[in-house]
Symmetry: C2
Subunit: 362 residues, 2 copies
């Protein structure tokens, strides 16, 4: 039916002309079928599955159109059709019927994330392993970013010899600590004095401000007690640098090994590059960071992500909020042939429940 018909349009089918009701339905069935079995879908199979009482020959005509506009492709001449990235995209954007999650899954997720009093680390770990367990793919959760990094409290604890343990509390109960090796021994009272001074002056202040003030102070008073101040500055720097700007943020991942069980990723060299990227973190992190601006679920199919290692993968993400502020992103990484209609609601729900669980006000 290509262009031997009476149609005046000589340019061949375009998405607009070709994607009538029937073509859409067939594309949908084809994608669903391929996602289920992982094998190229032929016209006979499709005719049976589509349930619209058409012969394989008719189906073939439609398939030829779908191929021409780039929604499906055949690995070789006699091998049925497979969705392309464009095809998946159309499927996800306009054909997808999102299935609600199974009761049992919802219960499982609630149970794991609705924990009273859980510590954030454990929650993030739970979330990522949940995502991986339910989808049989890899789950990933970025560490939440903190908007305001505020100085709260510092404490010096004498250890043996000239060593002192410095404990710096920032924000709502985050703790940094470090053992300092000092030039000489300080009396406990001296340590107390210094921490009193620091706490009195800086409690509640932004940690960057604290840092500059301390440097200023140091320049002015010289010599006196500077060692501990220097240490305080270092810790402040570490705390600020490590947390506030997106520098050095990281993520937790679970279920990477699941990916080895998907036939389409069974090439060792590709797997190596993928896992390399997982441990390198940089690229994955960049991708996740892009999603922090999004409102809801976001999907990258194959090359859409822009990272070569993910060319054969899809990534489904959702930002999670504490209160009203988006603080992190979680998601699932798997082969492009993934059950989007199940993954999307899962990622969505997990993000919402994780956000709720992280909310400190209870």
């Amino acid at each position: 039916m290509r262009d031997n018909g009476a149609m005046a349009d000589m340019t061949g089918p375009t998405a607009a002309t070709a994607m009538n009701e029937r073509a859409q339905h067939l594309l949908k069935v084809l994608v669903e079928r391929y996602i289920r079995d992982g094998e190229p879908v032929g016209s006979r199979t499709l005719a049976r599955d589509a349930g619209m009482d058409l012969s394989p020959a008719s189906i073939r005509n439609v398939m030829a159109d779908l191929e021409e506009i780039g929604f499906i492709a055949s690995p070789h001449t006699s091998a049925g059709r497979v969705p392309t990235v464009k095809g998946y995209r159309f499927f996800v954007d306009t054909l997808l019927t999102v299935k609600p999650l199974a009761q049992q899954e919802v219960r499982l997720i609630r149970q794991q994330l609705d924990v009273e009093d859980a510590d954030p680390q454990a929650l993030l770990a739970s979330a990522s392993s949940l995502l991986s367990a339910v989808t049989h793919m890899a789950g990933v959760v970025t560490l939440p970013r903190l908007e305001h990094v505020a100085w709260r409290h510092i404490e010096f604890l004498p250890l043996s010899d000239n060593r002192v343990l410095a404990i710096l509390v920032i924000n709502e109960g985050e703790v940094q600590n470090r053992v300092l090796h000092l030039d000489h021994r300080y009396e406990p009272s001296a340590l107390q004095q210094i921490s009193n001074y620091l706490n009195a002056h800086f409690a509640g202040k932004d940690i960057q401000a604290v840092r500059t003030t301390l440097l200023e102070e140091l320049r002015r008073t010289r010599e006196s007690m500077n060692e501990l101040m220097v240490a305080a500055i270092h810790m402040a720097e570490k705390a600020a640098g490590g947390r506030s700007r997106d520098q050095g943020r990281s993520y937790m991942m679970a279920g990477e090994t699941n990916l080895m069980e998907w036939a389409e990723l069974s090439d060792v060299e590709k797997l190596r590059r993928l896992f390399e990227a997982f441990t390198q973190r940089r690229e994955i992190l960049h991708l996740m960071d892009k999603c922090i601006a999004a409102e809801r679920v976001q999907i990258f199919i194959g090359e859409e992500s822009g990272y070569r290692v993910l060319d054969e993968c899809s990534v489904v993400t959702a930002p999670y909020k504490v209160g009203d502020a988006v603080v992190g992103v979680l998601g699932v990484i798997g082969p492009t042939r993934m059950a989007y209609e199940r993954v999307i609601p899962l990622v969505d729900l997990t993000a919402r429940l994780l956000g709720a669980a992280l909310n400190p006000r209870k």
Copy 2:
């Protein structure tokens, strides 16, 4: 020359009868060659490499003996020979000539581990990635175990609402912290009072003892201030459970992806099981724990480890000491075909330097 010779011994060659000077040398050359190239070694190649002016035919006789006593095997009839586990074992135990490390490598390792003032976590991470980088295999370092888990200091810091941050210091500068949600608001002075009390009574005590004393105390006084005490007990439990008994110890691993580049591990299913074991941790940890009793370098070749997933791998470990006490184990995991003569001194040196770097007395 099997048993058609003039030898009266009808039982065929045994390790004792067959392993004369020549056979040993040939085995050595064969193993070295196979480790280098990864391909079965034939009699012609071996004759050339051995440098002992023997014809391939003679070599073949010796090889037949070596095969009969189980030191080498052929993958199939016409494919040269490959060392068996037994062969590697003999090679490692009695034939190995350990090469000293290259100057450059030693310098690299020193540079990474001889850091003033580094924090232990970072040192362990350095050590494992060093091991993996130098060997192109996976490096692993167990977290050091602490002999005495002693209560040092507790501090309660009021946060907003009814929340209190509890900070517990154990040993030499290790910090545990937790946010507590309490029934009602405590005055800072009350918090101070409680921490004073706890610190005065328990500083320096073993944390298990603290726990039982606290439980006792709690039963006696009832009701009064029990909330914070309960929290203190919980933290003590967590600190003790997590550290003292080998329960829950863990390890750091680096360079797992290197293993994907070895041809002998290029089966995806095997890789999956291996990586599964790495994330599961249990089996690897058991194996490492066995080595804590050893004095120096220990080697498990193939099935020797006793864990099925490691059947095609060798593990080279060494315990590391802080002061005189062994506190952990580090090592390298790779294919049985690894360059033992380089790995062994590397693991040995790394263990010694890591121990030195972790030593708190400087």
